[in-house]
C-alpha cells in the first residue's frame, strides 16, 4: 500500500509541471498587465514611466523563457513568487485564504453527505415511490439551479425574512456565518450524491449475489449493511472525491456572493488585476488539492473493496 501511495504521489509531479507550464503560457499571452489594470478604472492617466518601473521591479522586462525558468526553479523550492499587488509572498497570501475555502468546502460536503446520501439510499430502497420521485425531482432541481441565484434566495429567506443568520461575511469565523454559504455550495453536490447513491444502490440490488442472499433468508438490514452499502460505496466515494475537488473551484461564486475570504475571491481579484504570481499560485494549489483528493479516493478504493488491486 505504501508503494502504491508513493507511486501515486510521484505521478502527480508531471501533472503539476504540465499545469504550471499551461498557466504560465496562458498568462504570458493574454493581453493586459498589472500596469494596465492599475488604470482600468479610469481614475488616472496611463503612466509610461510607471509601467517601465513596474516591469523592471517585477522582472517582466526579461524574456519569457528566462521568466519561466525562474518560475520553475522557484517552484522546485516551494517558492510561488511575490504578489505584484501586495508585494507579499504568494504562499503567505494563499496561506491566509486556503483555510476559509477548505472550511467552506468541508462544510458543504458535510451538507451534501448528511442529506444526499440518506435520500439517495431511501429512494433506491423504494424505487417508484413518492419519496423516490420527490428526491429525484429535488436532485434535478438542485443540479440545475445556479448557485448565485440560490445564494440570493437563501439570503432573503434566512437573513432578511427570518432573521436567523447573517447574510454575508466571515464574522469571527464561527458557524453562524458558515451556514448559508455552505448550504448554497452544498446543494449541487448533495443532488448529485443523491442521484449517484440511488443509482449505485439500485445497481447492487439487482445483482445475483443479492438475490442469492435474499433467497437464503438474509434480513434486509443485514443485506443492506453488509452487501449493498459496501458495494455501492465505491461509486459513491468516487463521486464524493470528484465533487470535493470541483467544489474548491466552484466556491469562487459563493465566496464572492457571501464576501467569504477564501482562495476563490483572491483568485478573481488577481485575474482582474493581472497579479500573475497569485493567479498561478492559487490555480496550482487548487490543482494540487484536486490531485491529493483523487489519490486519497484511490487509496480508499483498496480499503473498501479488496478485489481492487493496486499491484
Amino acid at each position: 500500500m505504501l508503494r502504491f501511495i508513493l507511486r501515486r504521489l510521484l505521478q502527480m509531479v508531471p501533472t503539476v509541471i504540465a499545469v504550471s507550464l499551461l498557466i504560465f503560457i496562458i498568462f504570458s499571452v493574454v493581453p493586459g498587465s498589472i500596469a494596465s489594470s492599475m488604470i482600468a478604472d479610469g481614475r488616472g492617466a496611463n503612466d509610461p514611466e510607471l509601467i517601465e518601473r513596474l516591469n523592471r521591479e517585477f522582472g517582466l522586462d526579461r524574456p519569457v523563457h528566462v521568466r519561466f525558468g525562474d518560475y520553475i526553479w522557484n517552484l522546485a523550492q516551494f517558492d510561488l513568487g511575490t504578489s505584484f499587488r501586495t508585494r507579499q509572498p504568494v504562499t503567505e497570501l494563499i496561506g491566509e485564504r486556503i483555510w476559509p475555502t477548505l472550511k467552506l468546502a468541508i462544510a458543504a460536503m458535510c451538507v451534501a453527505i448528511a442529506i444526499g446520501l440518506p435520500l439517495g439510499f431511501f429512494a433506491a430502497m423504494r424505487p417508484g415511490s413518492l419519496l423516490d420521485s420527490i428526491t429525484m425531482v429535488g436532485a434535478v432541481s438542485g443540479l440545475s439551479v445556479p448557485q448565485f441565484w440560490l445564494g440570493l434566495l437563501a439570503m432573503y429567506l434566512f437573513a432578511l425574512t427570518l432573521g436567523w443568520l447573517p447574510s454575508f461575511g466571515y464574522g469571527e469565523g464561527g458557524l453562524r456565518n458558515l451556514v448559508l454559504p455552505a448550504l448554497t455550495l452544498g446543494v449541487g453536490p448533495m443532488a448529485l450524491l443523491a442521484r449517484t447513491t440511488r443509482a449505485a444502490v439500485l445497481e447492487v440490488m439487482s445483482t445475483d449475489f443479492i438475490r442469492t442472499a435474499r433467497s437464503k433468508g438474509m434480513s434486509s438490514f443485514r443485506l443492506v449493511k453488509w452487501h449493498v452499502t459496501r458495494n455501492a460505496l465505491v461509486l459513491i466515494i468516487t463521486t464524493l472525491g470528484l465533487q470535493f475537488g470541483s467544489m474548491m473551484g466552484q466556491a469562487v461564486v459563493v465566496e464572492k456572493l457571501f464576501s467569504w475570504p477564501g482562495l476563490g475571491s483572491l483568485l478573481i481579484d488577481s485575474v482582474g488585476l493581472r497579479d500573475i504570481p497569485v493567479v498561478q499560485g492559487s490555480i496550482l494549489v487548487l490543482v494540487l488539492c484536486f490531485l491529493v483528493i483523487n489519490t486519497v479516493v484511490d487509496v480508499l478504493y483498496a480499503v473498501i473493496d479488496p478485489r481492487i488491486s493496486h499491484g
Partner: protein, 532 residues
C-alpha cells in the same frame, strides 16, 4: 480660492436642489460602531497605501491615514489637513507649510517635517515602482532621486520641525497632488518594517485594530486625533462586499450602515418611500464617453464627429439603460468642476442634422468603425448595443469589439483602436483634466484621441500661467467649450454616484471625487442606532 468658494456654494445649492443634503440639525453624538462597505472587489490589495492604485484601498486608508491636504467633500475643494498655513512664492514654485503641532501617529509619536520628507522620499524609492510616485514627481529633484541620480529630493527642505518648504517643478496648485490618499504620511523609518505593513500606523482618526484578509478591516477611535472632538464613532468595520445584490440584502437587513448603489438598486430605493429619504447622490468627476481615434480617416473630419453626437439619443439611453443614474454630459468637464459651464447645452438628438453633416463631410453613404468596449453595465457593451441602431439610421455601421477592462486600458494608450468607450476621471482639478487634450500630451499619457488644436493649446497654456483662480477657470471653461465644438468624442454622461445610508447615520458627505470615500471622522450615529 475665490473661484473655488463660489463654486462650492453653487455645488451646495445644486445638492440641496437634488434633495441630497446630508445636513441635520441634531448635535453629533459620540459612540457606536459603523459597518461600512468596500464595494470594489473581493479584497484589499495592500495595507501599504503608497503601493496601491486601487480605490478599494483608499476606503480603508481614509480611516487610518491622512495626507498633507485633504479633500473637503462638503466644500468640494482641497483643504490643508496636516498644516495650519501655507505660503506660496510669487513664481508659484515654492510652498512653505506651517505644520500642525498636535498631530500624533497611532504609536504616540508626534508628526514633524521629517516624517513628511521621509514619506515623499519613500514613495520615490528608486528600487520600487509605487503608483503614488506620479503625484510626488512634481516636486523638484524627485525624478532625479527616483532615477538614482541624486541622494535626496532637493525640493524638500526642513526649515524646522514644524516648517517645511517644498519646491515644485512647475507653477501649480499642489493641493490636488498632495491630497491623494496614496501620499499619506507615514512615521519616519517605521514605514518600511514588516510589522508596519501588517499593522499600518497613520495620523488619521482611527487606528488599525484587525484585518481579516478578504473579509473586513476594523479600526478603533484614535484618542489623540488632531481634530478635537472627532471622530465620533468608537469603531468602524470596513466590510469587503463586491456583490451589489448581496449588499442590497445586507443593507435591508441592517447589517451594514451604508451601501453604494448600482442602477438596479437606485431605481428600487428611489421608489421606496422610506428608503428614498436616506439616499445621497452626487455628480462624480467621471465622464463616460466614446473616444475617436483621430488618425482614423473618417474621424479626421470634425463634422463626422459632431454627426455622431447628433445621431445618438443620449437622454434616452440615460433614462432607459442608466436608469437615470447619470447626468447628461455637455463636454469633458463634469458638473462638479469649477470650470464647468452651466450655460452650455449638450448636442441635441437630431439625426437629420447628423445626415447633413455626414453628407458635407463626404460620407453620405456612411462608413464603418470598430468600437472597443468592456462589459461594464454603465459604460460598456450594453450602451454600445443601444447606439448601434441609432448610428445605423444615419448610415454608420458600428462593430462592437468586446475586451476586458485591463485590456481596454492597454490598447487605448497604445492607440490600438478606432473608437473606444470608457469612464474616465475628469476632475477634480480642471487643468489636469483638460491637459489630457493638449497636443504635447502623448497618446500614451492621456491624449488617447490624439487631439491637436492650436487654439485649445493656447487656452490651456494661458490657464497654466494664470495666478488668479477666476481667470484660470474662465480660460478652462473656454477650452472645455472648444472641446465640445471639436467633439473628439461622443459626450455621453457624468456619473451620478449614489449611496444609501441607514436613518440613524448622520454626516455622510457628497464626495464628488468618489462617493465611497467618506471622511469617517465626520460620521455619527443618533440614539436609534442598533448596539453592536
Amino acid at each position: 480660492m475665490a473661484g473655488r468658494s463660489a463654486f462650492a456654494l453653487a455645488l451646495a445649492a445644486f445638492l440641496l436642489a437634488a434633495g441630497a443634503s446630508s445636513a441635520r440639525a441634531d448635535e453629533p453624538r459620540q459612540g457606536g460602531t459603523l459597518n461600512y462597505v468596500a464595494p470594489y472587489g473581493s479584497s484589499f490589495s495592500s495595507l501599504d497605501i503608497h503601493a496601491s492604485a486601487q480605490i478599494q484601498d483608499a476606503i480603508w486608508s481614509k480611516a487610518i491615514h491622512k495626507p498633507l491636504y485633504d479633500w473637503d467633500a462638503d466644500a468640494n475643494q482641497p483643504v490643508l489637513a496636516l498644516a495650519t498655513d501655507v505660503a506660496a512664492s510669487d513664481d508659484g514654485l515654492v510652498y512653505t507649510y506651517k505644520l500642525r503641532q498636535d498631530v500624533y501617529f497611532h504609536n504616540g509619536k508626534q508628526m514633524t517635517a521629517d516624517d513628511i520628507i521621509w514619506t515623499y522620499t519613500r514613495i520615490m524609492d528608486p528600487q520600487k515602482a509605487y503608483p503614488s510616485a506620479r503625484f510626488i514627481r512634481y516636486i523638484k529633484g524627485a525624478a532625479e532621486y527616483s532615477e538614482g541620480k541624486a541622494e535626496a529630493i532637493s525640493g524638500l527642505k526642513k526649515i524646522d520641525d514644524f516648517t517645511l518648504e517644498i519646491t515644485f517643478t512647475d507653477p501649480m496648485d499642489p493641493a490636488y497632488l498632495l491630497m491623494r490618499n496614496v501620499t499619506s504620511i507615514y512615521p519616519k523609518d517605521e514605514g518600511n518594517s514588516e510589522e508596519f505593513l501588517k499593522h499600518p500606523i497613520g495620523v488619521g482618526p482611527y487606528k488599525f485594530a484587525e484585518y481579516v484578509p478578504g473579509s473586513r478591516l476594523t479600526v478603533e477611535r484614535w484618542e489623540k486625533y488632531f481634530d478635537s472632538g472627532k471622530p465620533y464613532l468608537d469603531k468602524v468595520n470596513i466590510m469587503i462586499m463586491g456583490d451589489a445584490s448581496a449588499r442590497d440584502v445586507a443593507f435591508r437587513n441592517k447589517e451594514i450602515d451604508v451601501s453604494v448603489l448600482g442602477p438596479a438598486q437606485y431605481v428600487a430605493y428611489k421608489a421606496d418611500p422610506e428608503m428614498s429619504k436616506y439616499i445621497l447622490e452626487v455628480p462624480e468627476v467621471f465622464t463616460r464617453f466614446v473616444g475617436f481615434n483621430l488618425d482614423y480617416e473618417p474621424f479626421k473630419d470634425k463634422r463626422v464627429r459632431q454627426a455622431i453626437n447628433y445621431a445618438i439619443d443620449s437622454d434616452l439611453i440615460i433614462k432607459r439603460l442608466a436608469k437615470d443614474k447619470a447626468y447628461r454630459a455637455t463636454s469633458w468637464l463634469p458638473i462638479s468642476s469649477p470650470a464647468y459651464d452651466k450655460d452650455a447645452k449638450p448636442y441635441p438628438y437630431d439625426p437629420e442634422k447628423a445626415k447633413e453633416l455626414l453628407k458635407e463631410a463626404g460620407y453620405a453613404e456612411g462608413f464603418e468603425f470598430e468600437l472597443t468596449a468592456t462589459q461594464n453595465e454603465s459604460w460598456g457593451l450594453t450602451i454600445v448595443e443601444a447606439i448601434i441602431p441609432m448610428l445605423a439610421k444615419v448610415g454608420i455601421t458600428v462593430k462592437a469589439k468586446p475586451v476586458e477592462s485591463s485590456v481596454l486600458s492597454e490598447v487605448v494608450p497604445a492607440g490600438d483602436f478606432q473608437a473606444f468607450m470608457w469612464s474616465y476621471t475628469s476632475g477634480p482639478d480642471p487643468l489636469t483634466a483638460l491637459l489630457n487634450f493638449h497636443s504635447e500630451t502623448p497618446q500614451s499619457s492621456g491624449n488617447y484621441e490624439k487631439f491637436n488644436n492650436p487654439d485649445y493649446d493656447k487656452l490651456i497654456d494661458a490657464a497654466k500661467q494664470a495666478r488668479n483662480e477666476d481667470e484660470k477657470n474662465e480660460l478652462l471653461r473656454q477650452a472645455n467649450n472648444l472641446l465640445q465644438e471639436e467633439a473628439p468624442m461622443w459626450f455621453f454622461n457624468y456619473n451620478k454616484a449614489v449611496i444609501a445610508y441607514q436613518p440613524w447615520l448622520h454626516g455622510a458627505q457628497p464626495n464628488s471625487m468618489e462617493i465611497a470615500l467618506q471622511s469617517y471622522e465626520k460620521i455619527w450615529f443618533d440614539e436609534s442606532a442598533p448596539s453592536r
